[in-house]
């Protein structure tokens, strides 16, 4: 190499090229997205999370949930993400998600938790799997943050996902009650072994406390138990309303109870706020509900499995 100048210019130039190309230009392209809203400006998605859920995101990041759980759903032409159902829940089991993820889904996320590995299931749309009635009240004390999620009762619209449950509907109906939209069991009752309805807040608490106690199928789970997020109290007077209902070896001794710490409540509030069910203009929903008509395949009848992804 002759001379220092060409060397330094080269070193500088190659890296500047990569820096501009892979970070600066994408930032110009998708770095300033706004929430999507309809003409009246009412049906806004996404919305910033509540304070508790935001704190929950910190807990999620601090405890490394990202190393095993992704929060992104791949499109149906490369993966089975959209065909996959969750392992628990009422029959028919809730789907992982109704559509693929898009950049707009994450505009309020910081730190964004896309994930790189799936030792555990994807959580992008986990709140949608929750039973309808369980949405907000259980974990969030009244009067603090509005609810665990933007899907608060006063704004049911973001929850009205048409993709998985109402194929063929091309415009987002904002009037569907959340219950119907989620396709959940209308009357969730605890199962005989004391496990709360799947993906409810109480279920998340028990799952975090003792991941392998949920069902016999779950014994292979490698999820760590997050017992340190829970407190053991001696019961004085009335048992706490939010005490975990535990059976077997996890159950506290008589006279004691396990209650979630504030961090645990925040974490569950965060989980209950994770949803990508609201249709986006730029994303074709699976199963045929397509805001962009030209790109949609024929709609499949409700209840029948969506077409298998093309495996190449």
């Amino acid at each position: 190499m002759k001379g220092l100048l060409p060397l330094f210019l080269g070193l500088f130039g190659t890296f500047a090229f990569s820096w501009v190309g892979l970070t600066v230009i994408p930032n110009m392209q998708i770095g300033a997205l706004n929430p999507q809203m309809d003409e009246e400006g009412t049906d806004i998605y996404p919305m910033p999370k509540s304070g508790m859920a935001e704190r929950g995101r910190r807990i999620y990041a601090a405890n490394g949930c990202i190393y095993c759980h992704s929060q992104q759903v791949r499109p149906d032409y490369v993966s089975a993400d959209l065909d996959r159902t969750r392992d628990a829940g009422p029959s028919p089991r809730p789907k992982w998600a109704g559509r693929r993820s898009a950049p707009r889904d994450y505009i309020f996320d910081r730190p964004v938790q896309l994930g790189q590995e799936r030792m555990g299931p994807d959580l992008a749309d986990i709140a949608k799997a929750a039973p309808g009635e369980e949405e907000s009240p259980a974990t969030v004390p009244a009067g603090t943050a509005p609810a665990a999620s933007p899907a608060a009762p006063q704004s049911p619209a973001p929850r009205a996902n048409v993709a998985a449950t109402k194929p063929g509907v091309s415009a987002p109906p904002t009037t569907l009650p959340a219950l119907q939209a989620t396709g959940a069991n209308p009357s969730p009752t605890p199962s005989p072994n004391g496990v709360p309805p799947a993906y409810s807040a109480a279920w998340h608490h028990r799952h975090l406390y003792s991941p392998r106690s949920m069902s016999p199928d779950n014994l292979d789970s490698t999820m760590p138990a997050y017992k340190f997020l829970y407190e053991k109290h001696q019961i004085s007077g009335e048992p706490s309303a939010n005490a975990l209902q535990l059976t077997g070896p996890d159950a506290p001794p008589p006279g004691w109870e396990i209650v979630p710490s504030y961090d645990a409540k925040c974490l569950v509030a965060y989980l209950m706020s994770l949803h990508q069910s609201h249709p986006l203009k730029e994303v074709r929903s699976a199963g045929g509900a397509a805001p962009v008509p030209a790109a949609s395949p024929p709609a499949t009848p409700a209840g029948s499995p969506p077409p298998a992804p093309a495996k190449k």
Binding site: S18, L22, I30, A62, Y106
Partner: protein, 494 residues
């Protein structure tokens, strides 16, 4: 000395007085780097041992997830980033800087001035890593992979880096002769790129954070470039020095080296987005990175060919020289690592290996089989020249090599195979997710075994290094060979 194999194992002697003067100058330069480089290595070794133990812990916790569930700072999701950050910033970066500074001094043919300033930098760097590790354990991880240290720890690292590297660059300023060696291109590149990369990532994530998914893009841009442009660059530069040095023969082709260097800088800096394949990003970003990954075959081929042609006819020296054996293993792993990287980044394979352990296999091949093995090799060369003693036990070196080689080989195979199994089962939606996740568990047990091998290897090396540090090496003018040279008299090379 020329053993019966007909291959000279020492630097070619020039003649009489000139050689003596040269030797004397080298000794003087080596002496000036003694304190900082040994401090780098000693710190790196301590971090390596801690990181290795943590790796075993993390690996084991996947088999016993209820173990120590009450202790917040021992939860899996905190220990894993601690292990990774210790390996990246504690072990790899410090060992790399030690080797780089020694190489720089040798190649600039100038003594290291004011080594105490570098020593201060080393302390700062150690403190920065320690702060970061404690912060992660206490639950202050930033949540960005590879950048989990909070910004205040990053700031300490940055100050430390400025103290260290400004001195290395100053050394370059005072170099003798106008020649810029191949190794120096790589080192100067690494010195310039790392602070830029680190500052850019910190700025785009914490100072003026980018929106949404772009944080993940910046994260992987940082992660891959750290692997390629910081660790990979120093490793390749080291290999370009060590291989010709040990066998006493110039690099085969200067022009190939030029092509290899610039294409490496150009293409590998554009990789990274393939780790986000099929994610919520504009397709061009991912496609550009996949294309760049495929194009890295050009630097791989040229650098590989160059090393191979330099080694041509001298491969039997690997039987004797520990440095050469480690370095050549690392240089070959560079090819394997890159080819695997290309294969798993193609969209048709990526859909099966994305979100699986295969990604971790890829990182370990880059970090360990390629980078760490070359750095081990350089330490076997440099440490005796700093302490004035030779390595005491050839057996320990051999054990270190084989435990490392088999360990990382087993780990890569297990995680790659496990990743494919895991990914394929994830693609059949009728299988419950828990079953698809469980399909990788047998491979993870294999990984735990590999972690055990690597632990053995690192403790052996640390013990041996400790002996050298405390002046318990052999006093001899002949380097420690892996096999006795004289005994091979009747054997012909190859």
């Amino acid at each position: 000395m020329t053993p019966a194999t007909g291959i000279s194992l020492k630097e070619p002697t020039i003649s009489g007085a000139a050689a003596d003067a040269e030797q004397l100058e080298r000794a003087r330069i080596d002496a000036s780097t003694r304190v900082p480089v040994l401090m780098f290595y000693a710190s790196a070794m301590v971090w390596l041992l801690i990181g290795t133990l943590l790796a075993g812990f993390v690996s084991f916790k996947l088999h016993a997830p209820d173990w120590m569930a009450d202790v917040s700072f021992l939860t899996w999701g905190r220990l894993r980033p601690v292990h990774m950050n210790i390996m990246v910033y504690g072990w790899a970066s410090m060992a790399a800087m030690g080797t780089a500074i020694w190489l720089m001094a040798r190649l600039c043919r100038t003594t290291l001035r004011h080594p105490l300033l570098i020593v201060t930098g080393i302390w700062f760097w150690n403190i920065g890593v320690l702060i970061g590790v404690v912060a992660i354990l206490m639950g202050y991880s930033t949540g960005y992979q590879w950048l989990e240290f909070p910004p205040y720890a990053a700031l300490v690292l940055f100050v430390a880096y400025a103290l260290i590297m400004s001195w290395a660059v100053l050394m370059f300023r005072f170099r003798r002769g106008n020649q810029i060696y191949i190794t120096q291109w790589y080192l100067l590149g690494a010195f310039l790129w790392f602070p830029w990369l680190y500052a850019a990532a910190q700025a785009m994530l914490f100072v003026a954070p980018v929106q949404g998914v772009l944080q993940a893009a910046v994260g992987w841009w940082y992660g891959n470039n750290l692997l390629f442009l910081w660790f990979g660059t120093i490793a390749l530069g080291t290999a370009y020095y060590m291989i010709p040095k040990v066998i006493g023969r110039p690099v085969y082709s200067y022009h190939l080296a030029t092509i290899g260097f610039w294409t490496y800088a150009l293409f590998s800096s554009w990789t990274g987005m393939q780790r986000l394949v099929d994610g919520p990003f504009p397709a061009w970003m991912i496609t550009a990175s996949i294309a760049a990954t495929i194009l890295t075959i050009i630097p791989v081929a040229t650098v590989g060919l160059n090393h191979h042609m330099t080694m041509q006819g001298y491969f039997p020296v690997m039987r004797y020289s520990p440095t050469l054996r480690f370095t050549v293993f690392g240089a070959m792993s560079y090819t394997v690592f890159s080819v695997v990287g290309i294969l798993i980044s193609l969209r048709s394979t990526a859909r099966y290996v994305h979100f699986t352990e295969a990604t971790i296999a890829y990182s370990h091949m880059g970090f360990y089989a390629f980078f760490t093995m070359i750095i081990f090799g350089s330490m076997y060369y440099i440490v005796p020249r700093l302490v004035g003693r030779e390595w005491r036990y050839a057996t320990l070196i051999k054990l270190h090599f084989w435990a490392s080689a088999y360990g990382v080989g087993l780990m890569s195979l297990m995680l790659l195979a496990g990743g494919f199994v895991q990914g394929s089962s994830e693609q059949s939606p009728s299988m419950p997710f828990i079953e698809s996740a469980a399909s990788v568990l047998p491979y993870l047990r294999g990984r735990t075994l590999a972690a055990l091998l690597l632990t053995i290897s690192h403790f052996i090396f640390a013990f041996h290094f400790g002996l050298m540090l405390f002046g318990l090496g052999r006093t001899s003018t002949v380097p420690t060979f892996l096999n006795p040279v004289e005994a091979e008299g009747s054997e012909s090379p190859l």
